[in-house]
């Protein structure tokens, strides 16, 4: 690569910066340059930005950035956003300075057959993963990760969006284009933050990415920008985009792209099927937009067969959210689930995962289907053996425990954390280091399942209320059907009731 000249300039807040005068990439609106040490990038808008836009960018890189990063859990967000740090003006062009993407967001192996597409070291743009045909036909299996990691990606994205919304900000162009993911580790990072909608400021010029534009935006896009009926990107439209993202990462298909034809002209058909006439491909009663199996490529199966892999395989917490997003809230933005609701449901769904016993299963994990004969929906393998399920209860009043609709599946080396043992602890950016330590773990020994106590001082077997037994740190308790285990007597301390499934 030819060496470019190094340009020295300074940011609008007076910090000196440098970049190599050679474009390393071009997006829809910006050209991107590396700093000489590649620790940050400078991205210049190709089009002239007006005063409003510059002011908006300065607020994003300044006040809003500080509010998020200088708060509780501030460090945590560094991994979740690629947030612009400064605004720069050079040669009559406005640009932003942003951190370089982490190494894990570039392909290590790339595509199949010794990377026949030549994508090694390219960015792991979300689209590679949210598509059955890209997954099945092109990606090297070592890049594909497993289903548990796609749930983790969903959690991180919901969390990142939740934090933006809490600050009153809307991303405005949430899509797999603006999200880097690493399914190998379950990491995700939101990029292109410069398009944020800032409260009280003129919205940015964002068209959006086709699969993710909310129906109301499409339906009103023919109106002038200042028409009061025109719907622009907002927190509500982000919620639509987030739901689509989560659906696509878990099911590798689009929730609205079925086979119903609305117009012979493709452009008009697109506008109708993503806007006014949009219809969930898995709508329970209106089946007119189902994906027809005859019209899909073999490489897209089984994912595009909604009768085989229904959205309900995502389990009891996510299923109602998908219904709200794509049925009740599709054309009624106020009914869409919030990012916070997605985060909570996804976290609970992780607890409901069990490993597939088929070692060559591509997805490796699936959500427990609440049956006495659990079966992996991806490869069809049924579970064999004893399967303990912990039903969590919590107490609002001394001695009175109520079910929480929260279960924890037990498998070898499954851990018990403080967010399981105490309802006041939530696994998110606020966790302290102490709370990140395991409280206990599960193990199968001589065909008996045990919970081993790592650090719960008050762990107690309360199955027989007349003979409560303390289970000291370092010892274990057998998991049998109907067993009641109290994790702690502290405020918020939970109780678990064991159910034992025996599948032969």
């Amino acid at each position: 690569m030819a060496k470019g000249k190094i340009i020295k300039t300074q940011t609008t807040d007076g910090k000196p910066i440098e970049y190599v005068d050679q474009i390393i990439g071009s997006g829809g609106m910006k050209d991107v340059y590396f700093s000489p040490d590649r620790s940050y990038v400078v991205a210049f808008f190709r089009d002239k930005q007006d005063f409003q836009a510059k002011e908006r960018l300065e607020m994003i890189a300044g006040r809003f950035r500080e509010n998020i990063y200088n708060n509780i859990g501030g460090e945590y967000w560094k991994n979740l956003y690629c947030w612009p740090t400064h605004v720069v003006e050079h040669d009559n062009k406005i640009g932003i300075v942003a951190p370089t993407y982490q190494k894990q967001f570039f392909f290590e192996f790339g595509s199949k057959n010794n990377d026949f597409l030549g994508i090694k070291e390219k960015e792991k743009e979300g689209k590679w993963f949210a598509s059955a045909s890209n997954q099945n036909r092109f990606l090297d299996p070592r890049e594909r990760g497993n289903w548990q990691n796609y749930l983790r990606i969903g959690i991180l994205l919901s969390r990142a969006v939740r934090r933006l919304h809490a600050a009153g900000l809307a991303h405005s162009d949430l899509s797999y284009k603006n999200v880097l993911v690493n399914p190998v580790t379950g990491a995700a990072c939101i990029i292109d933050i410069d398009g944020l909608v800032v409260p009280g400021k003129y919205p940015p010029d964002v068209v959006g990415t086709p699969d993710f534009i909310a129906p109301e935006v499409i339906m009103t896009s023919h109106l002038k920008k200042d028409d009061p009926n025109r719907k622009l990107p907002s927190i509500n439209t982000d919620r639509h985009a987030l739901a689509v993202l989560i659906y696509m990462y878990l099911l590798y298909r689009h929730p609205l792209r079925g086979d119903k034809v609305h117009d012979m002209e493709p452009q008009k058909d697109e506008i109708l099927s993503m806007g006014e006439k949009s219809l969930f491909v898995e709508h329970p009663t209106d089946t007119s937009n189902r994906i027809r199996i005859a019209n899909v490529k073999p490489a897209e199966l089984p994912w595009k067969d909604t009768s085989k892999i229904s959205y309900t395989i995502t389990g009891p917490y996510l299923t109602p959210l998908f219904q709200r997003a794509f049925i009740d809230g599709l054309l009624d933005p106020s009914k869409r689930p919030t990012a916070d609701e997605w985060e909570v449901a996804l976290v609970k769904t992780i607890d409901l995962l069990q490993p597939c016993q088929n070692t060559s299963c591509d997805q490796k994990w699936y959500v427990f289907d609440n049956s006495i004969k659990p079966k992996c929906p991806f490869c069809g393998t049924t579970y064999k053996g004893k399967l303990p399920v912990l039903n969590l209860y919590s107490s609002r009043k001394e001695g009175q425990f109520r079910p929480e609709n929260h279960r924890l599946m037990v498998y070898t080396n499954q851990s018990l954390w403080e967010w399981h043992t105490n309802r006041n602890v939530v696994p998110n950016e606020r966790l302290s280091d102490k709370q990140k330590k395991r409280e206990g773990y599960f193990v199968l020994h001589n065909n008996t399942w045990y919970l081993v106590n790592d650090r719960m001082n008050e762990l107690m077997d309360v199955t027989d209320s007349n003979h409560k037994k303390i289970i000291p740190v370092g010892s274990k308790v057998e998991l049998t059907d109907g067993k009641r285990i109290l994790f702690s007597r502290q405020d918020g301390g939970r109780l678990a009731v064991v159910q034992l499934v025996e599948s032969k």
């Binding site: 086709p210 117009d263 027809r292």
Partner: protein, 213 residues
């Protein structure tokens, strides 16, 4: 359904004047264009590329083909010969009628196709060229971009077919490589933004290209 296909036709001038460096550069440029598009996950799902060349005859080098299946042959140029662009348009009209999947009430068809034309001269079969213009317009291409390469290429004639004419001053390898890079970026943008209701813009042409207004 599977993703709608985005058909992209490329019409390349292989008349005698393209001999030597120009055609070498076109071959290199085509290769890097296909490689670049294969690295784009949107293009991979939707773009189908068809290639037609024209000199004394118009030839379909390959019909609309998914990116990952394209095997580019080396494109050769006869010793001398005319530039039958009109014939190429005629062949394009026939082929696209056969190859493009139209929507039916039961099945979604292709996106509106894109057409890129590159020539270093002007049509030797001007009458056929002009006769074909209404035929091509009838076929409802999403965008037609004509590239006039080198000093002998005539912008005005291409303007009769489309408003999007770019002019390359030279026909050397650097210019062609920029041009094909630009085509692949345009196709990439087209494949990731197909369906967006506001018209999407072409990326800015490389510095060596002049857009004829």
């Amino acid at each position: 359904m599977s993703e709608r296909r985005l058909p992209v036709y490329l019409l390349l001038d292989t008349s005698g004047s393209m001999r030597g460096e120009p055609i070498q550069s076109v071959n290199v440029g085509l290769h890097s264009m296909v490689n670049a598009l294969r690295q784009d996950p949107y293009a991979l799902e939707s773009v189908h590329l068809g290639l037609i060349t024209f000199d004394i005859e118009a030839k379909e080098i390959f019909p609309l083909t998914p990116l990952e299946q394209i095997q580019l042959p080396e494109i050769k140029v006869p010793n001398s010969g005319p530039t039958f662009l009109g014939e190429a348009l005629k062949l394009l009209a026939q082929r696209s009628d056969l190859e493009i999947i139209k929507s039916t009430p039961e099945r979604k068809g292709d996106w509106r196709p894109l057409l890129f034309i590159m020539t270093d001269g002007s049509p030797s079969d001007l009458q056929t060229f002009r006769d074909m213009i209404p035929e091509i317009k009838k076929r409802n291409f999403g965008n037609i971009i004509a590239c006039a390469a080198g000093p002998k290429a005539r912008n005005e004639i291409l303007k009769e077919l489309t408003n999007n004419v770019v002019h390359l001053d030279t026909t050397d390898s650097a210019t062609f490589s920029q041009f094909f890079k630009w085509v692949s970026e345009s196709v990439s943008i087209g494949s990731s933004s197909a369906g967006v209701t506001e018209p999407t813009h072409l990326p800015p042409p490389p510095p060596e290209v002049q857009v004829v207004i």
